[in-house]
């Protein structure tokens, strides 16, 4: 089965989200008592975005349901982390939009069919 073109957008958004998360760690870094927790939160976001990006690769690691679940977890962590003041609101806004876009792409019928199909590694 041919890989839908929109999956490249999902892959790109995942990579972009990870890069934005790591960049935000540096841009919004503040040296105070909660630095370790904040740093961990940004790195967690980066991991999640890179994993989501990988799920849209040709031989991605997840089924469509797991992909959707992880995308919603990512939105939750970004939104929750922003409300809980771990993330800067600007990163929270950008991160939430990227994650929602990934959810939308992941839930299109073409992507679901491809992700759940038998993908043989040659």
């Amino acid at each position: 089965m041919k890989k839908p073109a929109i999956m490249n957008l999902g892959l790109g958004l995942g990579l972009l989200g990870g890069i934005v998360a790591v960049a935000s760690l540096g841009i919004f870094y503040e040296d105070d008592d909660g630095t370790i927790a904040t740093t961990g939160a940004y790195l967690l976001a980066a991991c999640l975005y890179f994993a989501l990006g990988g799920a849209f690769a040709k031989h991605g690691q997840w089924s469509s349901k797991v992909l959707a679940f992880m995308a919603f977890v990512t939105v939750g962590i970004i939104a929750g982390g922003t409300i809980a003041e771990y993330y800067d609101p600007r990163f929270g806004a950008v991160g939430t939009v990227i994650a929602v876009a990934i959810i939308v792409i992941g839930m299109t019928s073409g992507v679901k069919k491809y992700v759940d199909s038998e993908r043989t590694i040659y």
């Binding site: 349901k65 679940f69 919603f72 977890v73 962590i77 939104a79 929750g80 771990y86 959810i103 839930m107």
Partner: protein
């Protein structure tokens, strides 16, 4: 003639919507009556021991919204059919509704506050259980968007619990639970309307 509760499934959803609406109106009325209450610094239960009319609003508001939530939960459980997750969610909502009635009745000053704490924590855990059970059922039925929203809301609660003091994460959790209960009630109404039209 045999009564068929599934014919009233849409009406049951209204109980949930009204429970949420009454709680929100009660909360707003309490905030208007007691201007010393501060978001994030005071718990919702502090309205129950207020020196203003907020104490009465809180007591009666909890009673009414608790009754409505209990009715919604009972109806959800009875119309769940083979869906175990909705049966569990409905049961949890019904019991949480009963606990909310007692939260209003026993304020945090009554007998050292133990009764109030018991019913408050029980209601919170039951509402969380209802959220998880309903979300799991929706996920299993292929309603990934609805189940996913619950996942997102759960993550928000977890983040708030980790980051904030009790008073602040309590109010955020209450907002999340109100939103989720409204979604479950709304879905209960719309899914049965769709089913009715196709029959």
């Amino acid at each position: 003639m045999k009564a068929d509760i599934t014919k009233h499934a849409t009406a049951i959803g209204w109980f949930g919507i009204l429970a949420v609406a009454v709680f929100c109106i009660m909360w707003l009325a309490c905030m208007a009556a007691d201007d010393t209450w501060v978001w994030g610094a005071n718990a919702i239960s502090d309205f129950g021991v207020s020196d203003t009319d907020a104490a009465d609003y809180f007591e009666y508001g909890c009673m009414v919204s608790g009754i409505l939530l209990a009715a919604f939960g009972a109806g959800l459980a009875l119309t769940s059919g083979p869906k175990t997750g909705l049966l569990a969610a409905g049961t949890f909502y019904a019991l949480a509704g009963v606990c909310i009635i007692f939260i209003g009745q026993y304020d945090s000053d009554y007998n050292g506050g133990n009764a109030h704490s018991f019913f408050a924590w029980t209601a919170a855990l039951l509402l969380l259980g209802a959220m998880i059970a309903s979300a799991a059922q929706y996920w299993q039925c292929g309603k990934l968007a609805l189940g996913g929203i619950a996942v997102t809301l759960f993550c928000i609660i977890c983040a708030c619990v980790l980051a904030f003091e009790f008073e602040k994460w309590e109010v955020w959790s209450a907002v999340v639970m109100l939103a989720w209960t409204a979604m479950v009630a709304g879905y209960q109404m719309t899914s049965h309307i769709k089913r009715g039209k196709s029959q």
